[in-house]
Amino acid sequence: MSVISIPDFNQTIPIDKVGVEERVSRLNKRSIKKESKVQALNLALSMIDLTTLEGKDSEGKVIQMCSKARMPYAPMPHLPSVAAVCVYPNMVTTAKKALKGTSINVASVATAFPSGMAQLQVKLDDTKFAVDSGADEIDMVISRGEFLKGNYNFIFDEIAAIKEVCGEAHLKVILETGELETYENVRTASDIAMYAGADFIKTSTGKISPAATQPVTLVMLEAIRDFYGDTGIMVGMKPAGGIRKAKEALQYLVLVKETLGAAWLTPDWFRFGASSLTNDLLMQIVKQETGVYQSLHYFSED
């Protein structure tokens, strides 16, 4: 194994805001038609982390959502199932049971989600509980306050500590980009997360606005590309929150394709953290297959 040298995170990597946004708007002009559209809609569906993260979540709600995860749209059983369901730690057992016999992963948020304002030990325990309950993936949040103070070592060590507790479970690191504000901060946070051992980097908790945006996603994808170039290690990407329309999902896929290439266009390396996106994708898929739009009433709201 080769030794990876960790860069100095205090060295800001300049990112030109206007340039990033222009690049996104140019990529948005890609016209996705016919076969490539059908292919992309199905791909996007298979990349969804179907999510419920509410104070009012109950076993009943989670079980119903898992049922949708298995078969998103009963009239078309050939459609792919989603990649994972994402729940709070105390719902992991329920979700695990409901998804038994499928390849759908259970992801659990942890580390005092969504604020992350807790002692390290609490976060470690939170993570351990989720992992012990059977979570395949852990979605942790970084301590944004410490990050904005410039306490990068703290962030790095915290992620590394959580990663250790994760064991076999995949670690997704939520940067909460809406609170980091600048693209430079997003880039630095991405680099810290990847060097500290993240398997995925993720934009947002979904609790802060703005959540995922395409320019932020592009900055993170470029960070992943540079990390891959420097270390040879692939890291996954998950934009989460605020992606509701199939058209946007396709635009995200274009971003991935033209920044990282075909290898990342799988649920193993790219996810959508979204719930309402599922039904819009289904609607578009039905439209592609039948030629007509079906009313929203035909799609389950789980």
Binding site: G19, S31, K34
Partner: protein, 511 residues
């Protein structure tokens, strides 16, 4: 540390070891094996292209005196698109007479506000027919529909809107002076931005009260004649705008016509010199917008990913058929390897092909002549010992004139590919060590049209841009145009300015 490593280290420092690169520097991204975009061609069904086009003189289409026609082809298919009238000195004379009559009797007598109204109307009609014009521009010139749709046509309309606004405000443009029109203007435009160059020329001329005789380039006359239809539909008085099609001889007839008061030319430096010679000793005013070999300077502290995008926009925009293209890349040595690697990666995602496909990034080379010229230069580059790299992922269509995006590394300032304008998707890459060296190299050509500076540091932008002998300097961007901004060259890149307030001067006599 063992004796041996110490020794190696000492040796390395003494001799200057190459900069260490990442052990994974050869890792490649695969952009092509999965999820390729299905064809998404813009439909050209509703576009009406006649078999034959006449000159547009004195408000109507008129058959050329010698009844000779030439063919214009679609460079993406090599099929004949239409026939155009070949302009002779008789035709030019007829057009100039019509323009003179319209100038004396109508246009110069019209209240300025009325002139403005016509120009506003033309601008709106360009917007209304934007889709049609964009498709024709792509069919005739080979440029990707994404560019003709998003750049050429909207900008052309914007120039008409902008100059329409000046028509009745010339007293404010030149406070305390009286701006009088110069008379009949002869205008000769190139093939790289046919409709846009027409707008750059006609809009300020009409706004200031002149009448025009315009000759579009022989390979791209179609949108000019569509523009003639717009003039008719707009009810523009006869003779205010006259369009004579033809090649170099037609242009010469315009330049040499004794009753023309001003010549505006955009094209090659070679032809510009001939024009300037023939204008010597006459009292004709003139503006020349000629060639360029734009330096694009990337400093170590630039935002690299955005700079790569800027390089792509600078040289591969419109197949590199841009006089202000950033065709010479100057990179600071510290980031050269990283930047070139990223640029090569980015080039793999450029789609070369059918200009009418909405996903095409690089369309067809405008003409066979230009295609041959570009290929000649690529050969010259190889012979000069430069290292060539072309993108691999895009397969070129079997028919039509297509050229892969090309970069040359290992080039020197003395190379012909660095000194001469190629006017194609060919970039030369040189490195530099200090800002002073960058400026020296940037200025070391006979041209001085446009350049770019990429750095995160604002003060550096101002410091360097003041030292560049260049009409336009873009900072952290490239190839941005706006009607309010003047455009023009230093040295052999031209005389005079077009666009903005400055663009009014060549079309007025101040009293």
């Amino acid at each position: 540390m063992s004796e041996k490593t110490k020794e190696n280290e000492a040796e390395a420092t003494a001799n200057g070891s190459p900069k260490p690169t990442s052990p994974n520097a050869d890792l490649k991204h695969d952009f092509a094996s999965f999820w390729n975009y299905s064809p998404a061609p813009e439909s050209s069904d509703f576009v009406e292209i006649r078999k034959q086009y006449q000159h547009y003189i004195d408000g109507s289409f008129s058959v050329p005196a010698k009844k000779r026609y030439f063919k214009s082809i679609n460079p993406a298919t090599e099929e004949v698109l239409a026939e155009f009238a070949e302009g002779t000195s008789e035709d030019v004379d007829k057009a100039v007479k019509a323009a003179r009559k319209a100038y004396d009797k109508v246009w110069s007598k019209l209240p300025a506000r009325e002139r403005g109204k016509y120009i506003y109307r033309i601008a709106r009609m360009i917007q209304e027919r934007a889709r049609e014009l964009a498709i024709i521009e792509s069919m005739d010139g080979g440029k990707p529909i994404r560019e003709s749709r998003d750049v050429d046509v909207p900008l052309a309309a914007a120039y008409f809107f902008y100059y329409a606004g000046w028509a009745d405000k010339l007293d404010y443009a030149f406070p305390g002076r009286k701006a009088e029109p110069v008379g009949v203007c002869g205008q000769i435009i190139p093939w790289n931005f046919p409709l846009l160059m027409l707008a750059w020329k006609i809009a300020p001329a009409l706004a200031t009260g002149n009448t025009v005789v315009l000759k579009p380039a022989e390979t791209t006359s179609l949108t000019a004649l569509k523009f003639a239809e717009i003039c008719m539909d707009a009810g523009l008085p006869a003779g205010v705008v006259n369009i004579v099609t033809g090649a170099g001889q037609t242009g010469a007839a315009i330049v040499d016509h004794p009753d023309i008061n001003k010549i505006a030319f955009t094209g090659s430096t070679e032809v510009g010199k001939i024009i300037q010679k023939s204008l010597a000793g006459t009292d004709k005013k003139f503006t020349l917008e000629l060639g360029g070999k734009g330096p694009n300077i990337i400093f170590e502290d630039a935002s690299v990913d955005q700079a790569v995008e800027g390089i792509v926009n600078a040289i591969f925009f419109n197949q590199g058929h841009v006089c202000c293209a950033g065709s010479r890349l100057l990179v600071q040595e510290g980031i050269a390897d990283k930047l070139i690697k990223k640029l090569k990666q980015r080039m793999e995602t450029l789609i070369v092909g059918d200009p009418l496909d909405k996903n095409t990034d690089i369309g067809a080379i405008n003409s066979k002549m230009q295609f041959n010229k570009i290929n000649e230069y690529i050969e010259i580059g190889i012979k000069e010992g430069a290292t060539i790299h072309q993108s691999n992922s895009s397969n070129l269509p079997d028919k039509g004139y297509f050229c892969k995006p090309t970069i040359f590394t290992g080039v020197a300032q003395s190379n012909r590919i660095v000194q001469e304008e190629i006017f194609g998707p060919v970039l030369t890459i040189q490195t530099f060590r200090t800002p002073e060296e960058a400026v020296e190299k940037a200025n070391n050509t006979p041209y001085g049209l446009a350049g770019g500076i990429w750095t995160d540091k604002g003060s550096k932008i101002f410091k360097i841009s003041q030292k560049l002998r260049s009409g336009v300097v873009w900072a952290n961007t490239f190839n941005k145009f706006d009607p309010t901004s003047p455009f023009g060259g230093y040295k052999e890149s031209g005389v005079g300015r077009e666009g903005g307030l400055h663009g009014l001067y060549p079309y007025v006599n101040l009293k």
